[in-house]
Symmetry: D2
Subunit: 260 residues, 4 copies
C-alpha cells in the first residue's frame, strides 16, 4: 500500500439525471475527480443520459465505472429492497452490460463497478448480497474492478470471486464506529464543510485508517475516496481535497491506476 | 440466394415473461426453432428471465438474438411511442448490451438483433427510426446481424450502416399488398391454421416472394421466418413447418448460419 | 362475535393481470367468494384491468376492496421495500382513490382496503407501517373498512385511527406459532389440498382461533378468510369451503356485511 | 363572455417533481396563479409530491386541477403514445381519482382536469382521444370542469359529454395559424420575454381571439391562460401578466370561478 498511499483517487456518482430531470452537477465536478460512477438506468440515468455521461467522461479522460442500483427511480435506489440473490446478480450484470455497450460505442471501456445506494449499504454487511454483486460483476467481465466499501462484506466477496477489489472511503460522509456509513437520516451524517472533508480525507489516506464519529480508527486499505455529486458542497469539497493533495505532492490516479 | 433457398431459418420471440407473469411457451417452442429473439427488459423480460432464457437457448443450441423494444411493459412494446431518434439509438444499444453481458456470463454470444413490436413496425416505413436502430446495433457490435422485415426501411438502413442484414418474413401473419404486416386489429391478420402457415411459408421460401392478402407477390430475399411464440398455435405451426420442410428435404439453419 | 361466527366471509385477490399478462383465475373464482381485493396498479393491475375487474365484481354482486401494494411490478409487490411512513401513507391513499374513481364510474363503491404482499407482511409486525397504512385509508375515506391480519399491528393501528377493522385469516396458508404467515419460501407454507383448507377454515371459524403449524391456538376474532386467487388450487379450495359451510348451514357474507 | 372578459384566470402545471428529482418552481409561481394543474404520478409527481403540492395549493387558496398524462416518466409525458381509447379513458379516471383522494385527505377538492403534454396535444385534433379523456373525466365526477385548448376537439368532446368546458390559451407559447401550439422543436415556439407574453395575453383576453404566428386571429372564448411552470421565465411572465392586468383593472379568478 505504500505506493498507493502517495496517490489519491477521487470518484463521484454521475449521470443521475433522468429525462427532463436534472440531478447533480456533472460538468463542474468531472474535471475534479478521476473516476466517474455512471448510473445505469435502474435508479437513475436513462440510456441517453448514460451516453452523454460517457461522452463527458471520455472528453475529460475520466475513468468509467458502472454504478448499478435497485430498479426504483422514485426512491433513487436508496430504499432497501428484499430482492433475491439471483435477481440481484442478474440485475447487476444487466446494468453493467448496458453501460459497456454504450461506452464501447464511443470507444470507451468500463473499468470498474461500484454499487449504488441501498444496494451498496445492504451489501456492506450482508454477504449473500455482496456475493451476488460480485458474481454479477464477474459474469459481465472478470477483469472489472470491484470498488467496495472499506471493511465491508463486498471486499471479501469480491476477493472470493477473484476480482480485483479497490477499497473506497467517503470524503463527505461520517462513519459509525463499526465502519458503516452513518445513515443520512442522522444529524451530521453528511460532511459539507470543504476544509473538514479535505482534512479527513488526507488523514485517512495517510494513515490508511477510517476515521469514525467517536474517534475510533479502523485500519484498512483506502484506495479511492467518493464525493457525492448531488450534494451542494460537492464541487467545493473536491477542490479543497485537490488543493490539499497538491500541497502535499500527492498525485491523482484513477480507479484503474490503483488496480495495477 | 439459391443456396439459402435450400435452407430454412425459423425464429421466435422468447423470454417475454416478467416476474410472476408468464408469457409464451418457450420450453415447447424452442426445440422447433433455430433462433431465439430474447426480450431485453423494456417491453418484457426481467434480468432473471433473460438469464433463464439464455440458459434455455444454450441448452438447445439455439442461436441468440436481442429483441429490443420500447420501454412499455403495460403495452408490451406494442404501442407506438414518439421517441427521438437519439433516444431510440441508445435504448437499442442499452438493451443489446444488457443481453450480451447476461449471455456472455453463460459463455453464449448474441448473434443478431431483431426489433420488437411497435418499434419494429414504426421502423418498417420510417427511415429515421430504422437508421436509429441500425446505429444502435452497430454501436453495440458491428458484427451483429440485423434481422429486418423484408422490403422495409430497416433493410436499407442496416446495409447503409454496414451491417449484415437477414430478411425476415412472418409465418403466422398476413401481409398487406404494400409488404407491411396486416395490423393485428384487422380480421385474419393472424394465421392460426398450421397447414396454411406451413404452406405459405414453403411457398414464400421457394419463390423468394412475399405472399400478400390480395395475391400480389413481392419479390424479396427471405431468409428467416418468424413464429410468434405467444400465439396459441405457435407450437403447431412450427411443427407443421418443420414437417413440411423435412418432406421437401429443406435443412434448418440459424440466423447466424444464414449470414455466412 | 357469536353472530359473525355463524357467517363466513371469503375474500380473494383479483385484478392482478397487467397488460398482456394474465394472472389468476378471476372469472372462475369470483362466484365463489363474497369480496374481491382489487389490485390498484402498483404491484399489478393496470387501469383497464381495474375497470374490467370492477365490472366483473359488480356483475356478481361481489363486495369491492382496494388492494394496494408497493410499486414493484417486477416483484409483484412481494419484495419488502424500505419506504418511509409518509410515502406509504400517500401511496395507499393514491391507490385507493384511483380504484374509487374507477369503481364510481360504474356505480360501484370501494368498501374496504386490504394491503398486498410485502406491504401487508411488513405491517403485520411494524406499527409505524401499520399506522401509515391506517392513516392512508382514513385519508381516502374514514368509512372504509380495514381488512387486517388477525393479531397484527394493523388491527391496533386501524382501531387507533378509528377505522372499522375486519380480522382476516388465510384459508390456504400455514401460520407460524407467533401468528405470522409462514413465509412462502418455507416448505408447506401454502396449503393446496382443498379438504385440508376447508377443514382448517371451518375449525378457525368455529373456534375463533388461528391454527398454527405446531398446534398452538391463538385466540382472535376471525371474520374473513382469504384465498389466494393465483394459486392453482384456489377454485377447488373455495368450492370445498363453500360446500363445507353449506353442510354446516353457515351463510356467506361480504366484508361490508361483517362490518355492520 | 363579456363578464369573463373582465377577469383573468391563470393556471400552471405543478407538482412535477419525482422522488429526489425537483422540477419547476412551484413555491415561487403559486402566489401568482389562481389554479394549479397537479401532476398525478404517471408522467411526473409521486404520491408524496402530490400531497405536498395539494398542501401548497391549499395554503395559497389555489384552485386544484388534475393534470393526467401518459405513463412515461422518462419522456415526461411529452412523447405521443398510441394508446387505445379505452386505456386512455381509464388512465385518466385513475389519475383523477388518485388526486381526489389525496386532496380530500386535506379537505381540498379537485375542481377541474387538464390533460398533460402529448395526451393534450394528441387530443387537440383527435376526437377519439378527446372523447376518451372527456369520458374519463365524467366517470370520475360529472361536475369536474374540463380545461381544454381553445378550438380543439376537447372542447367539442367535453360539451358532448355534458361537462363544463373552460377554454385555455397559452401565455408563453406561439400558435400555428390552425390554432395548434407551435411544436417545441420549432424556433420561437416558446415565448420567454415577459413583456411580450403579457401583451399577447392581454390582447387575447380582450379580443377573445387567439393570436397566431402569421397574424391570423382565431375567434374563440378564452377563459384561462396557462404558464408553463418549468420554463425559466415562468415567474417573470406571471408577474408581468399580473401587473398588466392590475393596470387594466382586470381581476383574477380561478378555473372554478370561471365555470360559474
Amino acid at each position: 500500500m505504500s505506493s498507493s498511499a502517495k496517490r489519491i483517487c477521487l470518484d463521484a456518482d454521475m449521470g443521475e439525471s433522468f429525462g427532463v430531470y436534472h440531478h447533480g452537477n456533472d460538468a463542474a465536478l468531472i474535471p475534479l475527480v478521476t473516476s466517474a460512477n455512471i448510473a445505469c438506468g435502474m435508479h437513475a440515468g436513462d440510456p441517453s443520459v448514460m451516453a452523454q455521461t460517457v461522452a463527458l467522461a471520455t472528453a475529460h479522460g475520466t475513468c468509467i465505472g458502472a454504478h448499478p442500483g435497485f430498479n426504483d427511480i422514485w426512491g433513487f435506489g436508496r430504499r432497501q429492497m428484499a430482492m433475491s440473490a439471483k435477481d440481484i446478480e442478474y440485475l447487476v450484470t444487466y446494468q453493467i452490460g448496458a453501460l459497456q455497450a454504450l461506452a464501447g460505442a464511443q470507444g470507451a471501456t468500463v473499468d470498474y463497478v461500484k454499487p449504488h445506494g441501498a444496494l451498496n449499504s445492504m451489501a456492506h454487511q450482508d454477504s449473500a448480497i455482496a456475493s451476488a454483486i460480485a458474481r454479477g460483476i464477474r459474469a459481465a467481465d472478470r477483469d472489472l474492478i470491484f470498488v467496495a466499501n472499506c471493511l465491508s462484506e463486498m471486499v471479501t466477496s469480491g476477493e472470493n470471486e477473484g476480482l480485483r477489489v479497490i477499497h473506497e472511503a467517503y470524503a463527505d460522509r461520517q462513519y459509525l464506529p463499526n465502519g458503516c456509513l452513518m445513515p443520512r437520516a442522522m444529524k451530521d451524517a453528511v460532511i459539507s464543510d470543504p476544509g473538514t472533508a479535505a482534512r479527513r480525507t488526507f488523514e485517512m489516506l495517510e494513515r490508511q485508517e477510517l476515521t469514525t464519529c467517536d474517534g475510533t480508527r479502523l485500519v484498512t486499505p483506502i484506495e479511492t475516496f467518493c464525493i457525492h455529486g448531488d450534494e451542494r458542497a460537492a464541487v467545493s469539497i473536491a477542490k479543497a481535497i485537490r488543493k490539499n493533495c497538491a500541497t502535499h505532492h500527492i498525485a491523482t490516479a484513477t480507479v484503474a491506476d490503483m488496480a495495477i
